[in-house]
């Protein structure tokens, strides 16, 4: 592997860059999600583009300004924009406006099966199947993150002062509050749904054990954490925000309590800005401020592989196709690399 790495560095271009396609869109890539056979990317010019190996991306002019949030929904994607629109978009260019909030932004979106969710301001709107009117959930401050648990029974809503976890029982949502001083952004459930974790305005992440609300602070980062991903069976919560991918173990009864994280994929003077698990492997893709991307096993003794070389613009999104064959990397200048992960593809 070492010899391979050296060879890659000599030629400047990585193996994946040589066999992949590069598209220069000219607007920052803001979000990427995987649908059944494509990867959809939202951009700062309001477009959503559907990428598929071997063909040019299909462009859908969706929002007037920035695609702020995106998630997959059946074969479609749901997007929220700074034009106040919450949209359902298909790759053939069909756009359905679910709701228009006017001058208020649609900051966050989420979905589970046939349930569509978005937030605008302090309110979360939930559309369930066969109902035209959304249910609304109110919060004390602007919603900064949304996440369903894997069964779609609980919805975590992050905000200033903590997280509200809404539980669905007999068609009614009831709230349970997880409190921690400060402003909470992106939120995630652990795969076993025992923990919720948020990225904070301060350079730290915060977690709660759901059943007893025990707090879990993960600190020491040099910058804000913009991205996290669950990796492997342990599982590890891998985060950006440092010069390495920082991997916190969430196994056992106590998770990362009193334990040190594993750090992999050192970016030297660059900071990690985006992390994405390689499905089914104990490995993570880490994108950095200079546009480079490393693939690393969660093992400090293993050397990472360079997947994408520096572009000069920070990596803002990474997505893997649903069949694990393709990777898409996007950056803040709108350069997209789409490449097959495996040499024999």
């Amino acid at each position: 592997m070492n010899a391979d790495l050296e060879k890659l560095q000599e030629t400047n271009k990585t193996e994946l860059e040589r066999r992949g396609s590069i598209f220069n869109i000219g607007a920052p890539a803001t979000e990427a999600v995987t649908t059944r056979d494509q990867i959809a990317v939202g951009f700062g010019d309001g477009t959503v583009r559907f990428f598929q190996s071997g063909s040019d991306p299909k462009t859908v002019k969706a929002h007037k300004g920035v695609v702020l949030s995106m998630t997959n929904y059946e074969d479609h994607v749901l997007t929220g924009g700074d034009d106040g629109r919450f949209l359902k978009i298909s790759s053939d260019g069909n756009i359905e406006e679910i709701f228009n909030f006017g001058s208020k932004w649609v900051d966050c979106v989420a979905s589970h099966k046939d349930t569509k969710v978005c937030s605008s301001g302090k309110t979360v709107y939930i559309w369930t199947k066969n109902k035209d009117k959304p249910q609304t959930l109110e919060h004390q401050s602007t919603v900064a993150g949304l996440a369903f648990d894997n069964k779609g029974k609980r919805l975590a809503v992050s905000r200033y002062g903590g997280v509200t976890v809404w539980k669905l029982n007999n068609n009614k949502w009831t709230a349970s509050n997880y409190t921690w001083k400060g402003s909470h952004g992106t939120v995630t459930f652990s795969p076993d749904t025992k923990y919720i974790v948020t990225a904070m305005q301060e350079n730290q992440i915060h977690g709660w054990r759901i059943n007893d609300k025990a707090d879990l602070a993960m600190r020491g980062y040099p910058s804000k954490i913009k991205s996290f991903t669950w990796v492997g069976d342990t599982p590890y919560l891998v985060t950006s925000g440092s010069s390495d991918a920082v991997c916190w173990p969430f196994d056992g009864k106590e998770g990362p309590m009193g334990r040190k994280p594993i750090v992999v994929a050192n970016g030297g003077k660059e900071l990690a800005t985006f992390v994405k698990a390689l499905n089914g492997e104990k490995a993570v893709f880490t994108g950095f401020t200079d546009g480079s991307v490393l693939l690393a096993e969660i093992d400090e003794s293993k050397k990472p592989i360079m997947i994408r070389s520096s572009t000069g613009a920070e990596v803002s999104t990474i997505a893997i196709s649903s069949d694990n064959s393709q990777i898409l990397i996007g950056d803040m200048k709108g350069s997209i690399l789409l490449s097959s992960l495996w040499a024999d593809n």
């Binding site: 300004g65 401050s141 020491g220 040099p222 804000k224 998770g255 990362p256 009193g258 750090v263």
Partner: protein
């Protein structure tokens, strides 16, 4: 609570390959003072420029711009043990969103509600790294109503704070006030804020290049301060009036002593010190040092050698409440090198 092992890194400083920062002008002033008039002048008279305007939900209507964003003025306390360290959470979110746009903005204007405290807005640019990397606070511009300012200063802390924080004050509606009353209100403003530029206007008719694109928060601009040095008179009526004090020294200062005193001062009295600025001549240092602070937060750096033939004097200015009880003069004097 239980806590994960604290993770430390050797990381020092990022070399931000600086994509140019978008300037942000903050517009404050009481309802009816003329903020919207000024805003519309900026938007309509500067042709060909692309602005984003962030307004509050209680704002006056009729803003003539493509890109108007509604904000909620959500003030968040930072969880960093600094009690007065508040930021505008909505501003962090909106500025981050605007920075993802494909088209480049020439400037961003943030309009605050009449009763807003400007500190959280200013502090947002000191505290949030993403905001600081991609945008820069250009200036705080306060529109004051020449007819009503005097009574507003008596009735509302916020009016004092808006004057205290300002880099530029438009004393508007002067056509409705007698000349000697203008002098009085001008003096009142000066007592609160000796370094803001005061422009007397009718319908906010000030030259726009004196309002936007000022770079007033740049440390370089600290060198421009020529505060009106006031006699330290004590005729203000209440102890919680906002006043200012400034000190000059031709004797070089001792760097260690100054850092001890000033650091401790901001830590313990930062809540009452609204703004501080200064140019410092340290013994044994060839370069000028400048600083600029908002409450407990401060930005400081060396700023090149002293100009030849110019007097190497240190100057500091404080604007705040209860300054008389901080032993500022004594503290500053004690920093003089032996």
């Amino acid at each position: 609570m239980y806590e994960g092992g604290i993770y430390r890194t050797n990381y020092k400083e990022i070399d931000m390959e600086n994509t140019s920062q978008v300037p942000v002008t903050v517009l404050t002033g009481f309802l009816g003072a003329g903020k919207t008039t000024l805003l519309n002048r900026i938007l309509t008279e500067q042709h060909g420029r692309k602005y984003a305007v962030i307004v509050n939900e209680f704002g006056e209507q009729g803003i003539d711009n493509d890109l108007v964003v509604d904000a909620d003025e959500e003030v968040f306390e930072m969880n960093n043990g600094c009690i007065c360290c508040t930021v505008r959470g909505d501003l962090i979110r909106i500025l981050s969103g605007l920075m993802k746009r494909a088209d480049k903005l020439d400037a961003i204007i943030v309009e605050t509600t009449g009763l807003a405290d400007p500190a959280p807005v200013a502090q947002t640019f000191f505290v949030d790294q993403d905001v600081a990397d991609r945008t820069k606070l250009d200036a705080i511009v306060t529109v004051a109503d020449a007819v009503h300012l005097s009574s507003q200063l008596v009735d509302h802390h916020e009016a004092e704070e808006q004057i205290a924080f300002a880099d530029v004050i438009l004393l508007n509606k002067v056509e409705l006030v007698e000349d000697n009353d203008i002098v009085k209100v001008n003096d009142r403003i000066r007592k609160i804020n000796p370094f803001a530029k005061i422009i007397k206007t009718t319908r906010c008719d000030a030259p726009l290049d004196e309002i936007v694109g000022l770079n007033a928060f740049s440390l370089d601009r600290v060198l421009d301060i020529e505060p009106d040095f006031l006699e330290s008179d004590h005729d203000h009526e209440h102890d919680d009036d906002v006043t200012s004090l400034s000190f000059v020294s031709d004797t070089p200062l001792d760097m260690d002593k100054f850092q001890d005193w000033f650091g401790n001062l901001l830590r313990t009295k930062g809540q009452d010190i609204l703004r501080s600025k200064g140019i410092l001549n340290f013994k044994g240092e060839e370069e000028r040092y400048v600083f600029q602070g908002v409450h407990m937060l401060m930005d400081a750096s060396p700023m090149g050698p002293w100009p030849k033939g110019k007097n190497r004097s240190s100057r500091v200015v404080f604007i705040g409440r209860d300054l008389d009880n901080m032993n500022l003069k004594e503290g500053f004097e004690n920093c003089k090198s032996a």
